[in-house]
Every structure is written in C-alpha cells, then in structure tokens.
C-alpha cells in the first residue's frame, strides 16, 4: 500500500458534493448512521418518558410540564401524549433506526468494500435513497410538533384509528404526516434495496464468487430482497388507507358509529388492513435482524480467530428465514378473529422458523468454541447478540403457539419477546458493527475500548433489567399499551416491578451517552490504528487506504482467491489469510470451500 496516494485524489470535490449530496457509498453510510443515531436518541428518550408514567403513575414531575407544556399538565404525561409516545417510539425505532440506520449504514459501507467494487451500481440512486430517507425523517420529526400531536394509534396504524381523522387527536394531521413520511421512506428503501441486490450480483471483483462472499454481504443481500418484496404491500395498504382517510372510501371501514351516528362507510374490513400490514410487518422484523446476524457472524469469526462454523449452513438458513418470513404474517393476528384452521397453519410455519434460527445460533456458538477470543467491544456486543437472540427466540416458540397466544397476546410478554429478540439483538448487532468498522468509517481512528466495555455491560444489564421482568408481568396478564393500571387492583402487586423496569430503562438510556460521546469524540481524538487492518481481518475492506476517496482502491481492485474465513489455518504463517492471498499448492489439493 505504498502508493496509497498515487492515484487517489482524481479531482477536488466541493463541500456540497463531498459531504452533503455525496454519491460516495462511504459518505452515504455515515449519513445514514448519524441520522440513525439522532433518531435513536429521540426514540429512546420517548421510551424514558412513557416509562416514567408506567413506573411512577401517581408521581408528578414538574420538569415534564416545563419541557412538554400541555402534554404533561401538572407534571404528569396526559394519556393522548402517552399513546403518541408509544406509537412514535415504535415507528422510529423499527423503521428509522433499525431499518434505515442499520441497513443503510452497513449495506452502503460494506457492499462495495467487501465485494471489491468502486461504488454501488448506481451511486445517484444511492444518494437519492438517503435524501428520501432524510425527507421522510424531517416530515416525521415535524409531526412531533403538530398542535394535536403525532400519530397515536400504534405503530401498526390499524384502522379505524388511522382511517378516521376524527377518531383521536393523533388521527388527524399526525396520521397524515405519518403516511407521507412512510411513503417517502418506502421509496427510499426501494431505491436502496434495488441498488444493494444489483450491486452484489453484478459488481463483484474477480474471484469473488457468491460462495466466497462474507456472511455480512449474504445477510444484506437477503435483507434487500425482503425489502423489495414486502414494502410494496405496505405501499398499497397505505395508499388505500389514504383514500379511506381523505376521499371517503370504505376499504377498511364498516359499521362505525360516532356519537350514535352511523358513518356512511359500509362493507370494508379492518382485518384486511391487518393482513396487508403484517405482510410487510413480519418480513420487516427480518429486515431488522438479518443485517445484524451478518455483522455478528463476521465479528465473531474475526475475533475468535476461527473460521465461521457452517458457512453454507449459514447461507441456507438465511435463505430459509427469508422464505419463511413471507408466510408467517398471520401469527400477529391469532386473536383477530382468524379462522382457527388458518391459525394452525400459520402456527406450524412460524415454529419452523426456529429451525434455521437454531442452526445459526449453534453455528455462532461453534464458531467461538475453543477460539482464541479477543474481547473487543465489538466482540462483546456480538456475543451479547447471541445471548439476546436465544433469550428472545425461546419465547417466540411460546407466542407462535396459537393456543398459548390466547393468554399471552397483547401482554407485556409480547413486549418482552420482540424487544429482546428483535430490538435488542438488532441494536447489539449495530453496536458490534459500529465498534468493528469504526476505523473504516473514520480514517483509521479507533473507538475507546474502555468506554466500549462500560457501554456494553451497562447496556446488557439494564436491557435485561427492563425486559426480563416483563415476561412475568406479561404472564400474569398485564396488558401492553395501557396508560395506567391504577384501576386494576390485581396489578398493583407489580408496581414495584414496574418502577424497577423504569429505573433500568432510564439508566440504560443514560448509558447510551457513553457510546455517543465515544463515537463523536473518537472522530477527532480517537487513537489512530497503526495498521490498515487493526483486527487482522481477511475481508477486502481492510486493504483500502485510510483516506477515503471515491473509488476505494487507488490502483486495480484486488483479486480474490479464497473465502473470507481462513483464520488460524494450520500450517499458515499468520492466524489470518486475507482473501487476496493466492491459494497455496497444498490448498489447491484440498476439496474444501474455495
């Protein structure tokens, strides 16, 4: 890499084309990441606010009135605002942080780097993808300040609360802004997804066959396919919903009475909306988790100094999860009046997902088994991911049973399940990715490990502190989405537990500022890595120079000769063999996976 700067800067870019309307995948990745972090803080802050209400429902916090005005009259959050908070917390975290923030960051950063391409297939479309996301973000953010508040009918926007502007305060302008923002978001996601799929298929460097790609790329590939196929259902559903809201159609509305007056809409079906929504909504959780799985596979293998266990099994299990993700959506609707026979079919399909998921979990454990483990912050978060994925996945078996779901649906058991298996796992994967690829994002600077350890243990403990007790109160029947349980004397016994959960949530939220400080301070003052390849990793991104320029490699794109996981190979000089190293005579004789 002596000639790092030889061909590097082919022309000077202006500030705007370099930092704002950049078409460079690395800059776009940073833009997605930083927007995602900002959304993460906003969404997290919302959970702190509604946890204050749930933990200390009788307490008054005068500061809330100072900050929120009429939304917290007398220092207590009003019910309308509580519902808006819960709705926006879900929307923001699922779509803006864990879809755009996670996929947008790592797909953009890693696809060209790891497959050996100069950039995405269409850098222009890539730039537009970010700016549509930004526009969606701006509109969603603005909706928080509307006079009647943002959407408040739940992130699933079920009709009739979403279809009748007069239903609740959040059903008016708030819902309209929600729909506009999400329409832009879908466009952004489609442009990004098309680009990811096509780039991975078409732009790989010489020697980078599909089965030599790192698992990050495989995971992102299937994530993009899921997005391209499932978001159209939400698009169609949202368009029909807009017609119901604004033009008086009745696709989702039937037999509604407001103030004793029957509305003219007849014959529609709110259940139809649920089907359409969950046809996106369920694949969406895999859009959230698959990139994290890919990141974790890569981080575990690199830091355990061992080849990933069951590379092909990993690919097939992602494929299996992708396929199954499209045919399990009705398990969200067991209690919606679904035909029990249909319910039993969806139950079986749902529980089958445990098979590819378990294949992945055992492969991860086998990968680090007897490994020469380096406990970097990224590695800790990757191990934390495996922990949360198991802990949350096990309760998925409970909830997937349509009979058990009669008791558990819409309780805190569900909240605990999906937060651990999807939200926590995905955010752990995202943290692992940020710590691991930070030197690649910011010109060889490293994040501070000690702050990383503190961040990890604080997050892990408080996260389990929040969600573990929720299983118990859920099994006891405490329903989710309730503003207050003061009128249910049976649930008073959980007041202490609820306060404990809220305390953990607040500490956990505060702990994230360790990460944020670490992230932003390290951009300027982080320790400079001494080598191009600080983790001694095999993949191609570590062969690029520290300084970013559009085109990634100053000279020819390196040729790939082997898979990405030749760690601790017996007989090899180092405990890693980069993908660019040609196969030796002995290796050519092996029947293995090259």
């Amino acid at each position: 890499m002596a000639d790092t700067h030889a061909h590097g800067h082919h022309h000077e870019e202006s500030f705007i084309s370099k930092y704002i309307f950049s078409q460079d995948h690395k800059m776009i990745a940073k833009q997605f990441l930083i927007t995602g972090i900002i959304w993460g803080v906003i969404g997290g802050l919302m959970s702190v606010l509604f946890r204050l209400q749930l933990g200390w429902p009788l307490e008054k916090f005068p500061i809330l009135e100072t900050l929120l005005g009429h939304w917290a009259e007398g220092g207590q959050i009003v019910p309308e605002f509580y519902y808006a908070l819960v709705t926006m917390h879900g929307t923001i975290l699922v779509f803006f942080v864990l879809t755009a923030g996670l996929s947008g960051t790592f797909a953009n950063l890693l696809i060209p780097y790891q497959i050996g391409a100069r950039d995405m297939a269409s850098p222009l479309l890539n730039m537009l993808s970010f700016w549509f996301f930004f526009l969606a973000s701006a509109i969603m953010f603005y909706s928080l300040f509307l006079p009647h508040g943002p959407a408040a009918g739940g992130w699933t926007i079920y009709p009739p609360l979403s279809a009748l502007p007069q239903a609740i305060p959040g059903s008016g302008d708030g819902m309209t802004f929600w729909l506009i923002a999400m329409a832009l978001f879908i466009v952004s996601s489609l442009m990004g997804g098309l680009n990811y799929v096509v780039t991975i298929l078409n732009m790989r460097t010489k020697g980078m066959s599909m089965t030599r790609m790192p698992l990050t790329i495989w995971a992102i590939f299937f994530t993009a396919i899921i997005g391209v196929l499932s978001f159209p259902a939400l698009l169609a559903a949202a368009l029909l919903l807009i017609f119901d809201r604004s033009f008086g159609t009745s696709f989702y509305l039937a037999d509604i009475f407001i103030g004793g007056e029957a509305l003219p809409q007849v014959g529609g079906s709110p259940i139809l909306f649920q089907h359409l929504f969950w046809f996106l909504g369920h694949p969406e959780v895999y859009i959230v988790i698959l990139p994290a799985m890919g990141i974790v596979s890569e981080v575990l293998s690199t830091n355990a100094r061992k080849p990933i266990f069951g590379y092909m099994a990993m690919i097939y299990s992602i494929l299996g999860i992708t396929f199954l993700s499209f045919i399990v959506w009705a398990h969200h609707m067991f209690m919606s009046g679904l035909n029990p026979f249909i319910g039993s079919i969806f139950m079986v399909l749902t529980i089958i997902i445990a098979v590819p998921s378990a294949v992945k979990v055992f492969n991860w454990i086998a990968t680090i088994w007897k490994g020469n483990i380096r406990f970097t912050p990224a590695m800790l978060f990757a191990i934390g991911f495996v922990s949360t994925f198991i802990a949350g996945g096990v309760t998925g078996i409970f909830l997937g049973n349509s009979t058990i779901d009669i008791q558990l649906h819409d309780t805190y058991f569900v909240v605990a399940h999906f937060h651990i298996v999807m939200a926590l796992s995905a955010i752990f994967g995202m943290f692992a990715g940020v710590y691991h690829w930070y030197p690649k994002l910011f010109h060889g600077r490293m994040m501070n490990s000690h702050m990383g350890y503190l961040h990890f243990f604080a997050t892990l403990l408080t996260a389990y502190g929040v969600f573990w007790p929720m299983h118990y109160i859920g099994m006891a029947g405490v329903p989710r989405r309730y503003y207050s349980f003061e009128n249910f004397t049976t649930f008073n016994q959980f007041d202490g537990l609820n306060a404990f959960i809220s305390a953990c949530a607040i500490i956990g939220f505060a702990a994230q500022f360790i990460f944020i400080a670490n992230f932003f301070l390290s951009i300027f003052w982080g320790r400079k890595s001494k080598t191009l390849n600080p983790w001694n990793s095999n993949t191609l991104e570590w062969t690029t120079p520290l300084e970013h320029f559009h085109g990634n490699w100053p000279g020819e794109i390196p040729e790939v000769h082997r898979w990405a996981y030749d760690y601790s190979k017996p007989g090899a000089e180092n405990d890693y063999i980069p993908q660019t190293t040609p196969l030796t005579e002995e290796e050519l004789k092996e029947p293995a996976h090259h």
Binding site: A121, L124, L194, V198, A236, L239, S250, F251, H550, G551
Partner: protein
C-alpha cells in the same frame, strides 16, 4: 462521479468473468423493480378479491361496460374495453419492434416504433378517460354505485327507498385500481417520450448502445401484463 466514469478511469470494473444472467446492472435493476411493482399490484388485486367475495352481490360486468362512447345504445357489452385492450397490446408489439431496431442500431426504426408506442399509450389513456367519464355520468362514484341488482338506478331512487344500489366497493376498487394502472401507463408514456427525444438527439447512437430502449420496453410490457389481470378481474369475471 458515477461508477461508469470511475470504471473508464481505472479499467474494467468487473474483471470477474461473465456477469450473472449476462445483463448489466440497469436492466437487472429494472427487473427487480418490476418484481416489486408486481407485488404492489398483486396486493391491490388481492384486496379486490377479498372485498368482492365478502360482498353479498356484485354487478355483472356485461351490464356495466356495455356502451361505446359516441355510439347510441347500450347493447355493446365489452366492445369498447376490447378495443382499449387491443390498442395496448398492439403498443407492446410496436415496442418490441423498437427494441429490435435498437439492437440493430437502426435509429430511424427506433424513432418510428417509439412514436407508434407513444400514440398507442396515449390512445389507451384517452379511452380510459372516456370510459371513466361515461361511468361517472351514469352515477358511479366512490360513494355510490348505480349498478344495482335491478339494473341502473339513480341516487334519488335509492334515497327514496324505491331502488337498491350496488356495492360501493365496485366503484371504489374500479377507480382506484384502474387509476393506479392508468398512472403507470401515463408515467410509461412520459418515460417513452423522454427516450424518444434522446433517440432523436442521437444520445444512444453516440454511445452505440440502445439498451435504454429495452429497459423502458420491459416496463411497458409489464404495464400491459398488469392490464391483462385488471381486464380479467374487472371486465371478464
């Protein structure tokens, strides 16, 4: 700077043997987009099926689409929509010929067939406008369906309780889905015009590459294919 420009600077960006499916990224992207768009239409048609089968009664298409604009009388079931469909399918044929001439670098041929394709698309949209106008004139709207079990009825008669209206979902779904398809045709026509202008200006002649014609052709055929399903569901069964 686009990927192509970088490619030219640094050499062949691929260098890794044949491309999968032997297509360039633009065409592949179009295919994936069409798959995605197919899911949107599929969702809408599933909504159509769900609402239609949950209705007690549904108008017989032969009694709804039974006129030709400018021709007196209502004894021409499905004649007009057959003409519309024929126009759209012919425009697909002319698009194929444009792509064929593009492959052979025949600029004049591309221009000729693109013009015919655009005319076909515009004619289809015109026919759709006429049909919508006629149905609206008969009283069909998002809120009222005059095609009841006892034939064509007026809103006044229904209000007075002397007649029974048809299911309002018929009009809602008809206008929404044919409108959504019409929007696709309209954007197809606009894209075709842009491509035509580019062809006339010699953009593809200069680059020696008429693949753009093929890409918009794919979109055009897709829009036609969707119409076949819309035609089947709204007009035939």
């Amino acid at each position: 700077m686009s990927a192509e420009a970088i490619t030219q600077k640094v050499g062949n960006i691929w260098g890794g043997g044949t491309r999968p499916f032997n297509v360039r990224y633009g065409k592949m992207m179009m295919w994936f987009f069409l798959i995605s768009d197919a899911f949107t239409f599929a969702t809408l048609l599933i909504v159509y099926g769900t609402l239609r089968f949950s209705a007690d009664w549904w108008p017989e298409p032969l009694n709804v689409f039974n006129t030709i604009p400018g021709v007196h009388g209502n004894s021409y079931p499905l004649v007009f929509v057959t003409i519309m469909t024929f126009i759209l399918i012919v425009s697909s044929v002319t698009m194929v010929l444009a792509v064929y001439d593009g492959h052979h670098g025949n600029k004049k041929g591309v221009i000729k067939w693109m013009v015919y394709t655009i005319i076909g698309g515009a004619a289809f949209l015109g026919c759709q406008a006429l049909e919508w106008t006629h149905l609206i004139h008969e009283g069909l709207s998002l809120y009222f369906n005059p095609f009841g079990p006892d034939g064509l009825v007026t809103k006044e008669a229904v209000m007075a309780g002397t007649a029974v209206a048809g299911p309002t979902h018929f009009g809602q779904l008809f206008f929404f889905i044919t409108g959504f398809h019409g929007t696709h045709v309209l954007s197809g026509v606009v894209i075709n015009i842009i491509i035509l202008v580019n062809t006339v200006n010699g953009v593809y002649e200069k680059s020696g590459d008429y693949e753009m014609i093929e890409k918009v052709g794919l979109y055009w055929h897709f829009v036609d294919l969707v119409w076949v399903f819309v035609f089947l569901l709204f007009y035939l069964i």
